[in-house]
Point group: C2
Chain length 370, copies 2
């Protein structure tokens, strides 16, 4: 046990239908009087619900994906012009991402009200985009002081998008097992996130209006984000970033498709973690279990229950893309990965993900993934 | 899901044999130059090991149990006299408790190096004693900025004391399940703490010099303290505080003896939590299990493995003390307890704890504990 773990101080307020009350309470607690709301016009009615007990100094609705630097400049200027002393973001990753970019230079506190499962509200990671270049960084000033979760705000998130986003969160949890800064503390949070997600997501596919399932999904995605923010990007995220960047594959679907193959690849090298993951995914160990197989089977059952995406071929990736992708992934694969990431093993992994071949752990299937 | 959870920001550094390196790194990170060490003369050699890379401005070794106000005054004066800008505590709860009392009025940052499993280093709770009156409070200023865990510093803790202290930590975990501020986040930390403790403590009883077991115990007790600091005192702690205060019973032994009886009382009212606790204690649910019985049996097996204390009668408590204790406990029992705390149920609970009757959950045994 040799690690350094930084726990980020943050208040998290959970309550369905309570966003307006919780936000007003946090504004008072933070002694703020000049609030700038950061919410896209698409989320205007949700933001109005959230702000119904507040005097708002300025509404900033120019929220764009990937946080372009031009938008950031405009938002910082608006905050200065209106003498703002607190940022209130309402929406998904783009809204809180813009609030973080403002806080980065101004130090303004943020109250984040998430309406998706993106999880950015629980991390100190910021990112902006200039032209085609993305810049990211870590700064405690961008961590929202308070996060207000209200599952009623997520009821309009379609079931399909909820599942894709939830699977993205599950990837946060599972990749945390072997990420560069993995430690027992973020592992515990990741496993609890995986447990709660496994219970919540199938219920959302059956009944997208289930407030209880939505609450558990929000809770799980929050934990997933805390774990991932602490553990960093593991092999899975490196693969998905390469695929997203080089071939413009859709974010959530890429994560959903690649995840079981990375698990099948890594699980045999970390049997104790695999056993704990399997238990979190609803398959407690019994005598004679092969932990890696249990974990892969548990993820497979869960993916069946939510009808998860299966083939990268469905999203524009093709067999001819594999060699270049393998080269690029090998350059960025974390040295901490529990198994060496070879060209052969990556080629096998991507080929299976391309065609939707059922993943199976290496331990029983010889060199297929090796 | 309706709760407010405050995560306290703190850095935790784990590494056996690394205390001196980690402390020196944290001193640099906090830009401190005038360090006061708070460590009892009994811990002098441990403190010297920890400080071997530091210039120490002042050593304060007047560390007394329960943090008497006279000692606090002397320590605050010493910090002022020596122009101290950082407090470094080395030792158990009394050392960090004194550092917290200094920080409460001075705002000085604390680096805590625990040498026991007390857990105070992970909370924002402070306490001082004047005459026979204890004053406690909560203030974020007393939370150590950094905690440096080095299991080599705990090797001299005798096995018996390690078990008693570890069982005290397990009580932190289990009481967190139904404490007044219990929420899913502190529950997850509590269950992980219980899991790790259940694995570590029996190994320490078999081999007190096992560094790996000591590391896991430290880690578990840290999580237990974080969970308990967040969830607050549940029924178990209220009972033990009354018994300790009124009859001067020994702290750790009282906790160890009372815990299974409180679990047997509450578990039938919270079957889902009981099932999760049982799994954490090493007994995953199988079909047909009664969760409360599983949890009680799992705790029983664990207690057998570490030869836990069983009878309050061994520590000076007697049957004639029960009526007064029941009266007092009923006044302080948390209204949030999952079962109503009646005079009859408390009398039965204390009678069983007095005589060491094996606890059994109410669900199968009718009214015995009701």
């Amino acid at each position: 046990m040799d690690f350094v773990h930084t726990t980020l101080g943050q208040r998290v307020l959970f309550g369905s239908g309570k966003a307006a009350i919780h936000v007003a309470g946090e504004v008072r607690r933070l002694s703020a009087g000049r609030i700038m709301v950061v919410a896209s016009s698409r989320h205007e009615h949700l933001a109005e619900t959230v702000c119904r007990n507040l005097d708002v100094a300025h509404w900033f609705d120019q929220v764009v994906q990937h946080v372009p630097v031009e938008t950031v400049a405009a938002a910082r200027a608006a905050a200065a012009d209106h003498g703002v002393d607190l940022l209130l973001s309402v929406g998904g990753g783009s809204a809180v991402g813009l609030a973080k970019a403002i806080a980065l230079t101004t130090g303004l506190p943020i109250i984040a009200v998430p309406t998706t499962y993106a999880g950015s509200e629980a991390t100190n990671v910021w990112g902006t985009a200039a032209q085609r270049t993305k810049t990211t960084g870590v700064d405690d000033r961008v961590l929202p002081a308070s996060v207000v979760y209200d599952a009623t705000l997520t009821l309009s998130l379609p079931a399909g998008l909820s599942v894709a986003s939830g699977l993205n969160s599950l990837a946060h949890c599972i990749d945390s097992l072997w990420a560069p800064n993995a430690d027992p503390i973020n592992l515990a949070l990741a496993l609890e996130g995986a447990r709660a997600l496994t219970q919540a997501l199938p219920r959302i596919t059956r009944d997208p209006q289930s407030l209880e399932a939505r609450e558990h999904a929000l809770y799980a995605c929050y934990l997933a984000a805390v774990a991932f923010g602490s553990a960093g990007s593991g092999l899975h995220h490196k693969i998905c970033h390469v695929l997203g960047g080089m071939y413009n594959l859709p974010h959530a679907e890429t994560h959903a498709t690649v995840l079981p193959h990375v698990l099948a690849f890594n699980a045999p090298a970390v049997p104790e973690l695999a056993a704990r993951l399997a238990a979190s995914l609803g398959r407690p160990a019994v005598a004679g279990d092969e932990p890696a197989e249990s974990a892969v089977a548990a993820l497979g059952s869960f993916r069946d229950a939510v009808d998860a995406p299966r083939r990268l071929a469905d999203y524009g990736f093709s067999a001819t893309d594999i060699p270049d992708a393998v080269d690029r992934i090998r350059q960025v694969a974390p040295p901490s990965n529990p198994r060496p990431v070879t060209a052969d093993s990556l080629t096998a992994l991507l080929t299976n993900a391309l065609t939707g071949t059922a993943p199976a752990p290496h331990s029983r299937l010889g060199s297929r993934l090796n």
